[in-house]
Each structure stands twice: as structure tokens, then as C-alpha cells.
Symmetry: C2
DNA sequence: ATGAAAGCGCTAACAG
DNA sequence: CTGTTAGCGCTTTCAT
């Protein structure tokens, strides 16, 4: 195996200097058409591929952005990722991705690792970073976006929506529909889920008429199966009184719905169900499930755009961007 | 903003030479405990992060592996990715990930881009690469794994299972259950889906008794909603005769199942449904859906292990690894 | 166990 | 428009 061709090899074949080849690759318009064609042929002929490490070192531009999500298996972050990848393609950037498994400590390590790639921007999920992580991020001097939720003290830029308000609204929706014995089914209990729960409690506390609430949570990760188990649990705790459940996401809601069939409960007559995130399945099951929709793909895209526009500028702290949410009312409530 | 600290800065603070700091970071055991502690403190104090580009350039080891999947939105590849990420963590590697949207041409471009990172290994999905892509890959000299399906002429290493055989088996399962008017619902129609369809046709052709088949396919991407539409289509084409459908994946199968409720068809009495991939929902809907399971997470892990063990060795072409599949029989058939 | 010198492959800055 | 020179920050190699 011959070693990989480098710029000089291409230059030799094309009969030009190395820097000209470099220009053809980065700024083709700065090279005469004649030389450019010669170089392009040479590149293709010997299958030259530019050495990113050398290029990044010399130019101080890595062409990379770093992204950390809490979970690869949660389809919610998938939507965000797709938005990120679609935007990144326009800008000819690469993504280096980390999955921190909802752990701030893992996230801290990942941040250090990913920063070593000299990313030109950093996208984080949520606002729950360790102090040392914040220090590293800050001192890196690159633009940073925190995604998904709104923060009072963002590291840099912030785009998301209020999970607390969404929790309030969806709970009020149930109360307005006449349900009075409300259950909350929560899994994982990350910060966003906690905010949804806080919204649930707030709505109940503020409600002018007597009503009952039952909160069942677990730190296990969400799954459809778990939704069924939590429904069992809330029915046990409420001695069968619970007449509506707010599930902290649609996986749980689907599981709860499937479980009602086994328990011979009618939805929404015996019990109402609502979820969160508005997954495709929620609209298509029978009965369809009320949920909370948010523009995840667009959030991902916009995060990249924010990074790119912020790249040169001074750090004028922009205010958080609230992308909002929408309650999608369906047959289950 | 002061510029980022480099090795020399750390060295100065710790009162040692740059190379010693480098050793502490890469081969701590080669440095005396006294100096090591000093250096570690200095690193933490000034928040030093090693410049990956420089490190990669000097050492000729990028610590990166490249991965291309056909779709970020398909949960199937998510499982594989999780396997990859979990294995990669053990080896202290970074992943650069590309989504080629099922397009060999996009894949070719991605391969060129990702190769510029000098990855130490490359994981590809499927066997449908362009000639130029294969050339680039081959000449890069790095170990390569093709995932998901088995290939007659792999570029290098290969791990997957036979989608053709799985298609044959699941079709025979339906035939054995007494169904004789079989429909195939296919979306996307990538190479693996086509192999499943080929298996379906083979099983029908080989069956000793009279039976009927209806094939409905589209190049649209899969979704639950589409499953409902395709079920409508196959019922129209078969004039209501179709008594079993093999859906090329579980999304379609779920959509088909939900549609049967709207059409007032009983499953499996009026019509049997089976899917592919064995998603969690398939086990939990009512009735539960027969599907084909495969060890996706493990495939991802094993792909990384293969790359790592192959790293040093000569290219002794290993035979493809068949991870097999399993038909999970459930209530829907 | 530690250090000095050289150079990885590329591009910025300057020169022509 | 094209080329020359220097150096990005690190690790390799060789010396002590």
C-alpha cells in the first residue's frame, strides 16, 4: 500500500505548486480556469482527499460543530438531530455527536472530548451542565446553543419552549374537560419532565374547584411498556378513582392507552389520556391521543443557523428564543 | 479573550517540557508520579484541552471512526448507532456520522468528506456503493465494515443477515397458518426491502398449493400512516380477497393494523399482519404483531470491534458474519 | 524518566 | 493569478 497522496503529489501531477492545489480546493474562483481544470483532474485521478487535521491546524477552522443529546434512543432528539444535519449540510460542516445518557457528568466528559476537536460551535440539550463544563465551554470562546428548554441564565444562546407552561396548559385542558381526579405519569424525570410536573401541580393548585391529583414517577427510562405499568400504579394509588392521566411523553401515553384495553377501561369515557411530543403514532391509534407538539426539526436547524451567524460577532447576549408549543386536542380527552 | 492554552502553556505552569505534558495525556505510566500530578493539576487549572487536529496530524491517528447510515429518522438505525456508540466509548474513539438518505450518490460524497477526517475505520450500511466510492474506500487502506445485509463481494468486512431468507421464512409462516391470498406491502424499496420482497415471491413460487399474491409498493418513505394507505391499496387490488399481509417493516404493519380497525376487519381472523424489525410497539398493540427480530445493537457493537481488531492486521479477507434473525410469532398471525 | 529537535500536511501572509 | 516561506500544536525519534 502506497501511502496516501498529499497536496504535493497532486501538485506534481498537475504541474503546479501545492498552494495552488489548496486554492482549487478551498477558493476555486481565485485560480485560473486552465490550472483549475488541470488540478481537478489530478485530484480525481489519484483520488486525493485533503487531510482534515492538517487543514484544520493550519487554518484554525475545523469545520466541525459539536452536539450533545441526552439519548440516542429517544425519537424526540432524532427530530432535532435531523434538523441539525440538514442545516449543517448547507454550511459544509461536520457534526461530532455525543450521547450523554441524561448524565451531567458524562456530559462534562463529552464536552471536554468534543472541545478537543476545536468545534466552531456547540449545541447542548437542556440547561443542566456542571460548573466545570460551563467553565470549559465559556473559555472556549465559541458560540453555544442550549436547546429544548428556556433558561434564565443561558451559557450563550438559547432556543426552546417552556415545559412548565405546557404542563400547566395541558392540565387545564383536562380540568376544563371536566376531569377532576388527575394522574401524572412520569419517567426518567429529567429537568424537562420535572418542569412539566411542576406545571401540572401549579394548574391543580390554582384551580378554583375541588380536585384530586396522583403523581406516579420513576427514574427508569420511558418506554411503551412502562406506560402500562405506570397506569396500573396510578389506578392502584387512586383506588380506581383516577379519571385522567397526563403522561410526560407519548411513549408512556401509548402504553397507558394499550393498557386501558386490557383493563377494560373506555377512553375517554372512563379515563382520559394525554401525552407529550406528538409522535406520529399518537395521531393514528384508536382513540387518537391528545398531545403537545413542538417544532423540533426547526429547533435543530435554527440552532445551527444561530451558531453560524454568531460565529464572527461579539458575544452580545441574545435573548432566549421561544419557539412555543401547541396542544393538539384529540379523541382521548 | 486570551487564545486557547496549548501544551507549552501547561508545560510552563507545571515547570516541565511540552513533551512531558504530552506523555501525561497519552501515556501517563511513562511519567514519574511527581511530575504527573503537577502536570495534571496544571491541566485542570488552566482548563487545557488538547488540540485534536495537531495531535492527529503528528501522530497519524485521528481517533475517529466514520459511520454512514441511510436515515436518521428510521429507528432501526438508531439501535445500530447505539451499539456503535457504546463500543466506541470503550475504545476512546469519536464517531463522525453521515446520513445519506438512502442515496448512493449522497453516500459517495459523504464518504469523500468523511475520509478527509482520516478515520481509523469506516462503517457503512448495506452494499449499494458507487464504484468511485469503493475505489476511495479501498485506497484509503482502513478497515471497513458493511452492515445489515450480507454481501457476495464485500469491500472488506461484512456483518448482517439474509433479508431474502427472512422474507422466505415469514411468508412460509403465513402459508403454514393457512393463509393463501398474501399481500406484500413495501415502502422505500431499498435493497434490503427488495430482498425481503424477493423472498416473499420465492416462497410463493415454491409453495405446492395454489395461492395468490398481491404486491403493493411505493418509493415513499415508510410511516405508520403509509401502512394504512397501503393496506387500503392491497385490499382494493385484491378486491377484498387478501387475507394476510407481509409488511416490509413494523411501521407499515402498525399502520395496517390501525387501519383494519377503521375497516372493521378482525385480525387475525379476517386478515393476518406481520411486520419486520420487531419494534417495541409491535409487542404491545392489540393484537400483538408477528415480526422479524435481529440483533441490531449487537451488530453495531460488533462492527466497531471488528474494525479495532482489524486495525493492525493484514487484510486477510474475513468471511461475512451472519448474525441471523428470529421470527417472533404473535397474535396477529 | 525526561528533554531537544524535527516534521506531520496544510494554509496564512506576503511577494512577485 | 501564482509561488515562497513560515508555522499551526502536537508527537516522533533520538539523545541523555
Amino acid at each position: 500500500m502506497n501511502k496516501k497522496p498529499n497536496l504535493k503529489d497532486v501538485a506534481k501531477v498537475a504541474g503546479v505548486s501545492a498552494i495552488t492545489v489548496s486554492r482549487v480546493l478551498s477558493n476555486p474562483e481565485k485560480v485560473s480556469e486552465k490550472l483549475r481544470t488541470k488540478v481537478e483532474q489530478a485530484v480525481h485521478e489519484i483520488g486525493y482527499i485533503r487531510n482534515h487535521a492538517a487543514s484544520a491546524l493550519a487554518s484554525r477552522r475545523s469545520g466541525v460543530i459539536a452536539v450533545i443529546i441526552p439519548s440516542l434512543s429517544n425519537i424526540v432528539f432524532n427530530d432535532v438531530l435531523q434538523g441539525i444535519y440538514s442545516a449543517v449540510k448547507q454550511h459544509h460542516l461536520q457534526v461530532v455527536l455525543g450521547d450523554c445518557h441524561y448524565s451531567p457528568l458524562e456530559e462534562e466528559k463529552l464536552i471536554a472530548t468534543l472541545l478537543s476537536q476545536s468545534p466552531e460551535g456547540f449545541i447542548l440539550t437542556g440547561t443542566d451542565q456542571t460548573d466545570y463544563a460551563r467553565k470549559l465551554l465559556q473559555q472556549s470562546g465559541i458560540p453555544i446553543v442550549q436547546l429544548m428548554e428556556l433558561s434564565d441564565c443561558p451559557i450563550d444562546m438559547n432556543i426552546g419552549f417552556s415545559h412548565f407552561n405546557a404542563g400547566v396548559d395541558i392540565t387545564n385542558h383536562l380540568l376544563q374537560k371536566g376531569y377532576r381526579k388527575l394522574g401524572f405519569l412520569g419517567a426518567r424525570m429529567d429537568t424537562r419532565t420535572q418542569q412539566r410536573l411542576a406545571g401540572f401541580k401549579k394548574a391543580i393548585a390554582d384551580f378554583k374547584q375541588p380536585c384530586q391529583s396522583y403523581v406516579v414517577t420513576t427514574t427508569q427510562s420511558s418506554s411503551i411498556r412502562l406506560g402500562g405499568q405506570l397506569l396500573q400504579a396510578v389506578m392502584a394509588e387512586s383506588q380506581g378513582q383516577c379519571d385522567a392521566v397526563f403522561c410526560c411523553n407519548d411513549d408512556l401515553a401509548l402504553g397507558a392507552l394499550f393498557e386501558t384495553k386490557r383493563m377494560n377501561l373506555k377512553v375517554p369515557a372512563d379515563i382520559a389520556i394525554c401525552g407529550f411530543n406528538d409522535l406520529e403514532a399518537s395521531a393514528l391509534v384508536e382513540p387518537s391521543i391528545t398531545s403537545v407538539a413542538s417544532p423540533r426539526f426547526e429547533m435543530g436547524q435554527q440552532a445551527v443557523e444561530l451558531l453560524m451567524t454568531a460565529a464572527g460577532e461579539d458575544k452580545t447576549h441574545k435573548p432566549p428564543i421561544d419557539v412555543g408549543y401547541r396542544i393538539v386536542e384529540r379523541a382521548s380527552t
